[in-house]
């Protein structure tokens, strides 16, 4: 086992050293994919969730700005998830709500509700790399994770904050992504993502995301209570803290349509 892993690492290392940009899907690629598939499989069957989130934005001088958001999510078999996001703070956007049907292939369907006008607008989901509510999180950082969104390569195993981690490179398949690659640290025991490092379109180090305080729900599903994103270029940061995770709320597709979007609050 160890020998096999070592071999894989060596192969991965030499592939890196040669900086082979061929389409050749070697052992490192297969292993990277397998790790992410396993993580995805372990999280299957969550059904539906509701949660609350507080976002604290900090500029390089440490000035803070707060957003409060609630969301509902529904797992859809053989396709991307459905989600409804409700904005509570800042107060000028209170009542604004966002409905998203993500898809494993093709563009996601997204609608925005503007409460002052009582207007539902279908919006383009093309905007992957833009900041979410002025934060250091891009839309693509917060959208539902689908295997098809990346190509993978296993790099190595190394010690991390909770045991040993797989280190996997992920290359976005969507040309509209703001990244050339992400490097993720996934813990070997429970397949939780602990750290993600983002490289911008020029392949320069852009951001580091630390995902902490995991709690297990329904004896199976791990969810973080804290995510910290630091932008190394702008020196700005955004902290996300999650609370009130609830599974098994009995949500169905009928909770995710334009009528529920209009009365979300």
């Amino acid at each position: 086992m160890n020998i096999k892993l070592l071999t894989t690492s060596i192969i991965a290392g030499s592939v890196l050293a040669l900086s082979a940009s061929t389409a050749f899907a070697g052992a490192a690629e297969d292993k990277g994919l397998a790790i992410v598939q396993e993580a995805k499989i372990r999280d299957e069957g969550w059904g539906d969730t509701t949660s609350s989130m507080i976002m604290v934005l900090r500029n390089k001088n440490g000035q803070e700005s707060v957003r409060e958001i609630r969301s509902k999510g529904l797992e859809i078999a053989n396709d991307g998830d459905k989600s409804l996001t409700i904005f509570d703070r800042p107060r000028d956007v209170k009542g604004t709500a966002f409905l998203s049907f993500s898809h494993t292939s093709g563009a996601d369907d997204q609608w925005l509700y503007l409460p002052a006008l009582k207007r539902v607008k279908r919006i383009s989901s093309r905007n992957k790399s833009g900041p979410f509510m002025g934060s250091e999180f891009a839309f693509e950082d917060l959208s539902s994770f689908e295997i098809e969104k990346y190509h993978y390569k296993f790099l190595k195993e190394e010690a991390c904050s909770i045991g040993t981690c797989f280190v996997v490179e992920q290359y976005p398949t969507d040309k509209n992504s703001g990244y050339t690659k992400r490097i993720v640290w996934i813990d070997k025991a429970e397949y939780r993502t602990l750290k993600t490092v983002f490289y911008d379109r020029k392949d320069s180090l852009l951001k580091t995301l630390t995902t902490e305080e995991y709690q297990q729900y329904k004896g199976k599903f791990w969810r973080p209570s804290s995510m910290k994103m630091v932008n190394h270029q702008s020196m700005k940061s955004t902290d996300l803290s999650f609370s009130q995770y609830k599974f098994g709320n009995g949500l169905s597709a009928s909770d995710f349509n334009k009528n529920t979007l209009k009365r979300a609050r």
């Binding site: 279908r122 790399s129 009928s254």
Partner: protein, 399 residues
Amino acid sequence: MKNIAWIAIGSGLLMQPALADELFFEATGKLSTEVTLYADDGQFANQDYRTNLSFSAEPEFYWAWNDQQDNLTFTPFFRKDQRDSERTHADIRELSWSHLNDNWELRTGFRKVFWGVTEFQNIVDVINQKDTVEGLDKEHKLGQPMVNLSLVKDWGIVDFYVLPGFREQTSAGLDGRLRAGLVVDDDTTTYEASNNDRHIDLAARWGHSFDVYDIGAHWYKGTDRTPQYNANSHNGENVLSAHYQQIEQVGLDVQATIDSWLWKGELIYQDNPIEGFWASQLGVEYTFYGIQDLATDLGVLIEYGKDQRGTNANSVMQNDIGIGARFDLNDTQSTALLAGVIYDLDYDTTSFSVGGDRRIGADWKASIEARAFSTGNSNDPAAIFVKDDYVKLTLDRYF
């Protein structure tokens, strides 16, 4: 007039047991201060001023009970205007009870409804009367009494509306700007319907989303929200009188959302006592995301409005091209900048607008809006605004 809506709200409340386990209550709101600076004195009598100050308040009270299956929303609106006594007004934007079920909702009371997809005007948006003294953008509406049943089906969402009671369009008074030479006199309003503003209007709409398309189709029969204005004499004064006719209308709104492109169209056919006519508003919007490696998005759009009645139409864009641009900085303060121009092909005239807004701290927002009217053609209805170029500064405080 409004009795039906009141009774419906009342009976709805009574039907709900007072012992519903948990009553959720929330109060929010907005206070606004607005300063308008005009480039010139107005062209009509009583318009010899260049500044105006105005305040408004719009609280919102919300109750939910019965495990969130029932809710009541109350949103009154108040404005105090320094100059214009007609702009000083109050309205019930919303006083409505909603009962929710898995696949249907019943909404009863004063409400606002939006239909449409385009940006410069929404010819399919017929349910509410416009509160035109609030601004030229027609985004402000008076609450409409209604009973609205909404059904969610696999093949779309269907809404049925019974609309008892009619609200007259608001209009600037003698001391107001952005009005015609004659002032609208509410006492001289006439209706085609024999029961005047008590006519019960009916409407239905089907809306559906599939693939990249969002489609809506509607039918409306009742009092036209847009009045016909006639010069009249009342108590020895020359005034404008509004006449509200009965119309029947069908319409369609479609949006195709393809990558960064939004293709939009609204189409209506209206039958009224004078004539039957078609009107359309067609346009396309494209967004450049993250321009020049910044977080800023730039959206550009072009729309064309056509009304078969030509210059007899009482719509703003009877044969007009509108071009707009919007910058969203996507910063912490949600700064946005807007610019638009409408060119009238019949009258060869142009109106410009620029604006922007930005959040300040957590609970404040500042906005600026400027409009200029360039019309060398006195036949253009917009010629009444030719001395009304303005800059409006608004400061909102949210609670």
